[in-house]
């Protein structure tokens, strides 16, 4: 065991002052003076004591007495000098800063260095990169953005388009911060927002300079909502989808929806129709009375049925088509029943279905052969004038066919043509009758359309599938590419499902049948229990409409 620490005879009566800024210069060698340095770091000890003048009654001069404290050895033997000074002078020390003072200096030094570095960075050409909290969206960081911004000065950077503070230096930043709306000391900024959208703030007004109002959503939006409550800029190259709560701020608020309904009253319905992408046909459902102002908070809780189903819209495509027959037992290709994918193929993106086209999808079964004995002869598709011309030029067509079959003499060619024309007359009657059958007859003829024992359905005539007018014009076949233009859907993400899970095509016998799944079918998966994403932004984009010009 070491000796006792400190030793029993150690004088512990000395008062330590660890919080003093200065310590005696003799402290490190273990001989600090009892008085210690002054508060401003000056040594104030030059002797071991300050002698005291004592005089007895009647004495005029008196005697100097040593006052050295007991812990310093008590009064010295020599006593003070005749002039009253101490006989044991002390060498003055150079007081040293205490550890606490050194720490304070070090701390302020670090802070000063940091402040200097920050000021340097804030005043340098890289200051915008330095204070930028994160990457901008691609639209706001493009080269085309700066010229379109309303920068307050020609030299202003594109930050100043949205941030007024960016037009000046750091002093201006402070001024902008103090003049912010809401201000830093405004407690209203923390107040809960209940019963409506979040109110506009100062920064939102910069958004509306380029994106005026909320007409890109619906012209009936009654209250301006804060752009930045949904769109968090400086969070990446794309805006993250807003949360459902932001949508519910309006769509689950009776007062807000009522105001929207009133504002939308009388506005032309066309103003509410979402535009279709170029080359895409959309089915536009008439806007309901009162607008789309149903109250709901979540897709699986109160979202209205899709408008096209709710309004019992029909498919007005000018084509006679029976899904049930095509998917039934009677129609087979290469011995197997037809599958949806035989006709419905996804577009290159996989998100949507490409249009069904006659040649790749229908013609494999629905050949256009006119004469069952010579299937090589076909009627052109898609043009009634061309079809009529083909019927009227049948003699030439047979003659050409004869040559292709190796008959070269005129007699043989004429004989071939006349024989076949005569056979056609027996089958169909006169040329006018045949022409009417090709163009106008909607009913299947005997031997037409059946596939039993044969691969192809015989040509029944244009009107078998198409709507042919009195003037022999075929109504254009323009089925909608998008049935729900206000939403987006991705077929590829649903590829693991069977088509019939959503589309009741096996029971559809009319073209007018709309084979969309109901909202409840979607909800079966798109709800928290279903596991599929069910947020508003899964299907919808806030900015539905074109920006107003």
């Amino acid at each position: 065991m070491p000796g006792q620490l400190p030793a029993p005879d150690f004088d512990a009566s000395r008062y330590e002052r660890p919080n003093d800024a200065w310590i005696c210069g003799h402290h490190c060698v273990g001989k600090p003076c009892p008085l210690g340095p002054s508060p401003n770091g000056q040594c104030r000890t030059n002797a071991e004591c300050k002698p005291l003048l004592e005089s007895k009654p009647g004495e005029t001069k008196g005697r100097w007495r040593c006052t050295r404290p007991r812990e310093q050895g008590g009064p010295c033997e020599d006593g003070p000098q005749p002039d009253g000074s101490c006989g044991h002078p002390v060498i003055p020390c150079a007081p040293r800063p205490s550890l606490r003072r050194l720490r304070g200096r070090f701390t302020w030094g670090i802070c000063a260095l940091l402040a200097g570095l920050v000021l340097l960075a804030s005043g340098s050409r890289w200051r915008w990169h330095f204070i930028n909290p994160g990457p901008l969206t691609s639209a706001h960081s493009s080269l085309g953005f700066s010229p379109r911004t309303h920068s307050p000065s020609p030299n202003a950077n594109s930050c100043a388009a949205c941030h007024e503070a960016a037009a000046g230096e750091i002093g201006h930043w402070v001024k902008s911060a103090l003049g912010a709306n809401p201000a830093p000391w405004d407690l209203q900024q923390f107040a809960p927002v209940v019963g409506g959208p979040h109110p506009m703030t100062g920064i939102d007004l910069h958004c509306t300079a380029c994106h005026p109002h909320h007409e890109r959503h619906q012209p009936s939006v009654a209250d301006e909502a804060s752009c930045s409550s949904c769109h968090q800029e400086h969070r990446g190259t794309q805006f993250a989808a807003p949360s459902d709560d932001r949508c519910a701020d309006c769509h689950d608020q009776p007062a807000v929806m009522a105001a929207a309904s009133i504002r939308g009253h009388g506005l032309p319905s066309a103003q509410f129709d979402p535009p279709a992408p170029p080359g895409v046909r959309s089915h536009l459902t008439p806007r309901p009375q009162g607008g789309r102002t149903n109250l709901f908070a979540e897709f699986w809780k109160g979202h209205p049925e899709f408008g096209v189903l709710r309004q019992k819209s029909t498919d007005a495509t000018a084509l006679r088509f029976n899904h049930a027959v095509h998917l039934g037992e009677s129609v087979r290709i290469d011995g197997r029943m037809l599958a949806c994918s035989d006709c419905h193929v996804a577009d290159p993106s996989g998100a949507s279905m490409a249009r069904v086209q006659f040649k790749p999808h229908c013609q494999v079964c629905h050949g256009l052969q006119l004469d069952p004995a010579h299937p090589e002869l076909t009627v052109p598709h898609g043009d009634t004038a061309a079809a009529r011309a083909a019927v009227r030029s049948l003699p030439l067509a047979y003659a050409e066919l004869a040559r292709r079959k190796g008959l070269h003499s005129r007699v043989e060619v004429d004989h071939f043509a006349q024989t076949n024309l005569a056979r056609l007359r027996v089958m169909f009657g006169s040329g006018e009758t045949l022409e009417r059958l090709v163009l106008r007859t909607a009913e299947a003829r005997p031997g037409t359309g059946g596939l039993a024992g044969e691969r192809r359905a015989h040509f029944a005539g244009c009107a078998y599938c198409h709507v042919v007018s009195e003037s022999d014009q075929i109504s254009p076949v323009t089925p909608p590419d998008r049935w729900l233009p206000a939403a987006h859907f991705n077929h590829a993400r649903h590829a693991q499902l069977d088509c019939q899970h959503c589309h009741a095509a096996h029971t559809s016998r009319q073209t007018s049948d709309v084979l969309l799944p109901s909202q409840q079918v979607c909800v079966s998966c798109h709800q928290p229990a279903g596991g599929a994403p069910a947020g508003c932004a899964t299907c919808h984009s806030y900015h539905l409409l074109k920006p107003p010009r």
Binding site: G3, F10, F106, W108, S176, A177, N181, Q189
Partner: protein, 277 residues
């Protein structure tokens, strides 16, 4: 006493846990309702940071009935843990991608880590000192060291006078005077190594064989002084580390505060709702 300590720690930990859970719930439930939840957590964090920074100030207000320094330390420690939770909530557990915000985050993280390291170290050092023995005020160490050195010198000189042999005086001058004059083996004491004192004790053992009984007695006293000085050096090293640790924690704290002020300026000047053109 120990039961009370554990009771107090359990109560404080439970309070901290409840506060963190409430914070998590508030972040989850209030996000749809309060637009500026991030602002709210930010101001709350700043308030906690100011409270943490003011710890050194509050504990010195001894003239006010504000509780003991120990109570303030406990408040400082648990507020520090809560500030970490607040910081994570404020950042939504995401490391910022901006340069300035990254700098501020780095400062906060380093401040927190230095605080945690200091907390652990301040728990370890007293145990080590208690295990080693002795109780010395840090400010008195130079005086005690000087006293030990003076005693050793007197002992060596007295031995010379008494025995007529200068062996002990030479041994003192060669091996002990330097050792006793100032603090020694700082880093070795910090890690608890006893190699230096064992080496010195081996020298004492070597010398002891060549001395007579009176000199051996003086040598034993010298050895005792050396061992006491070694313990004093141990105290010096351990207590110094506690003082020097603050050279990291405090500058980082003030640096974080400084950057936080600029952060507030940037947030309100650029983001929250800066004035219109």
């Amino acid at each position: 006493m120990k039961a009370r300590f554990y009771q107090r720690r359990a109560l404080a930990s439970a309070t901290l846990l409840v506060a963190v859970v409430l914070l998590a719930l508030a972040m989850q439930r209030m996000t749809p309702v309060i637009r500026s939840l991030t602002f709210l957590t930010g101001w709350l964090l700043l308030a906690v940071l100011l409270f943490l920074t003011g710890y050194n100030f509050f504990k010195k207000l001894s003239f006010l009935p504000l509780g003991s320094s120990r109570t303030w330390l406990q408040l400082h420690v648990y507020s520090g843990w809560f500030s970490v939770a607040l910081f994570v909530a404020h950042l939504r557990a995401r490391w910022p991608s901006g340069g300035f915000e990254g700098l501020l985050t780095t400062f906060f993280v380093l401040t927190s880590l230095s605080g945690i390291a200091g907390l652990l170290w301040s728990r370890l050092v007293p145990r080590r000192l208690t295990a080693r023995g002795g109780e010395v005020l840090f400010e008195r160490i130079p005086v005690i060291r000087r006293e030990l050195a003076d005693r050793a010198e007197k002992l060596a000189l007295a031995s010379t006078t008494g025995s007529g042999s200068a062996v002990l005086a030479e041994f003192h001058a060669r091996h002990l005077a330097g050792f006793l004059r100032g603090p020694q083996h700082f880093w070795r004491h910090l890690i608890g190594s006893q190699r230096p004192i064992l080496r010195l004790q081996a020298r004492f053992a070597d010398l002891s064989r060549f001395l007579d009984s009176s000199q051996r007695k003086a040598l034993a006293e010298l050895e005792e002084l050396v061992r006491t000085k070694d313990t004093l050096d141990y105290h010096h090293a351990q207590q110094s580390s506690l003082k020097l640790w603050l050279f990291t924690h405090i500058p980082l704290t003030y640096g974080t505060l400084l950057l936080t002020v600029l952060h507030v300026v940037l947030v309100y000047g650029f983001a929250a709702g800066s004035a219109t053109h």
